[in-house]
Symmetry: C2
Subunit: 320 residues, 2 copies
């Protein structure tokens, strides 16, 4: 078939690939992220690429380029990864040359890397919910709250590290965030801080079924699925904490909208995708009354590809 | 001399022109804004243009183009002004064709208009404190708090009306803003809301010399000069209210910096210019501990042209 680009979303838990043909997903593969170091992660990525190609009915020689979305700080020129606490084998002080490792395993194919959130937003912008918009924000609500901007029809970088909507101050002096500072959006809406706060409240004697649901699901963490089930069952603590998250998102997104006059906001990430359209509607409802120009609100959108956004965006990064 | 561009900053109180030669101010003129309607405002603008040209040693025939910075909603294609509550004669429901009126009075010369805050930021970016930066925010602190963004080396517009940093939510449920909503930056840092809050506190029995200073200066409003004098005299209320403003600015600018990874932030506007470098330093100090990437803070700058920023930017708009 010739000239197929494969994208891989490299997560702390899962590795997900997507082979794109004519801008559509033609094949993909998912496997667990090895816990045994960077070389094994690279091998798993190579396997996910090969299996996606095979599922798309393509030959290894059809592989044109590989794109990777990786959590942490990425040097896109060097193809290296650093500061990636959730990725086994990437915690050292030296940047890991993941691009070169994957390229070696795949016969020298060209490999491009970028940050996982940026790549997910790239995928939704170019192939998914964000198609056709010139100015949009992606807000990715998962363990933390990440973000990325498309401004004037280009992924915006600033000095680098742009898009940290999770560290918008929504409540000065409020809850402690993952970076130790107070009152950030992520302290209210990121899954890790939501869980920390729920554990704190439970320890103080507040009732909740969140941790029972977690155990029944065989989890050790309050996953997105645990939150979703607790909300369905109208668990009081879950309802209140998600209400706080919605309120915090409303505040942060409203301020961003007033500053940037965006056309669209896409809500993604593990928790964002899992809670879906009703969650996005609630955020919109919280934001609307605060908009400075209420006549031109941004379109409030879910991702189109859900947890495949990252793999699709990584393929786009590689030219697919 | 040939091909001189003249810019005019059209304010609710004053009209200020600047004739630019070789990117420097070669002449300028200031007069009071007529209170007698749009036609007289247009005539005053034409007079300010002619006098700036004469001061620059140029002939009327040297005038290449005129740029206007005007408060309110501007249709840049049509050269019209609407929603400009502070400009006498511009409060009607019909947009005022100010560009055409000024052009008629100046022999058909080309006239370009844009919003006054955007134009001021354009001036500082192209000719003043912001030269050479690709990504910057201008925050203009005057009666209200306006803003404008240069992103990737271009004035950013979004859907239109981008830059409303004054309507960033810094304290949910906090002080009432000019638009009736609560907790916005402008409610803490804009001169009109600062004055409203000071009057409220004084009525409640809190002591302050602010209003005595105002009367002594022959003012009916707490002008920037009144605030500056009260701060010098360590008036308790003035000190506390400006401290609140600094804190609010620190919160808003920190959130913007975390999102946009800017290279520079320029503080301008009547109050920003008047309080100057010490004020900017205090804002920087309030912002710094909250930055997500503390190693790459934005340069925190005063305007270079002070209250001439708008006229200079208007000249840039006209090609000067």
């Amino acid at each position: 078939m010739g000239a197929i680009a494969v994208g891989v979303d490299v997560g702390g838990t899962k590795i997900q690939s997507a082979a794109m043909v004519s801008e559509k997903i033609a094949g993909g593969h998912r496997l667990m992220t090895p816990l045994t170091g960077a070389q094994d992660v690279a091998a798993a990525i190579a396997e996910a690429v090969s299996k996606a190609l095979a599922e798309a009915g393509a030959q290894p020689s059809d592989l044109h380029a590989v794109g990777l979305g990786v959590p942490g700080a990425i040097d896109t020129d060097e193809g290296t990864v650093s500061s990636s606490p959730n990725l086994p084998g990437f915690q050292g002080t030296e940047p890991v040359p993941l691009g070169a490792k994957v390229s070696d395993l795949l016969g020298g194919v060209r490999v491009r890397l970028d940050n996982d959130v940026r790549v997910g937003i790239l995928g939704e912008w170019k192939r998914g919910a964000g198609r056709g918009y010139r100015n949009l924000l992606g807000v990715w609500i998962g363990t933390g709250v990440g973000g990325g901007l498309v401004l004037e029809d280009k992924l915006y970088e600033g000095q680098g590290a742009a898009g940290e909507i999770g560290h918008t101050i929504v409540k000065p002096g409020g809850r402690v965030c993952s970076d130790g500072r107070r009152g950030h959006l992520e302290a209210y809406a990121g899954r890790a801080r939501l869980e920390a706060h729920a554990r704190h409240l439970a320890k103080e004697g507040h009732k909740t079924d969140l941790f029972d649901i977690m155990k029944r699901k065989g989890r050790t963490r309050l996953s997105s699925g645990v939150w979703a089930e607790a909300l369905e069952k109208k668990d009081k603590m879950a309802v209140e904490l998600i209400e706080d998250a919605v309120e915090a998102l409303g505040i942060a997104l409203c301020s961003v909208q007033n500053l940037l006059a965006l056309e669209a906001i896409i809500v993604g990430g593990g928790l964002g995708d899992r809670l879906g359209q009703p969650f996005v509607h609630r955020i919109e409802k919280a934001m609307r009354p605060q908009l400075f120009v209420p006549d031109h609100p941004p379109a409030m959108l879910n991702t189109e590809f859900g947890d495949l956004s990252g793999a699709v965006g990584a393929a786009v990064l590689a030219g697919g």
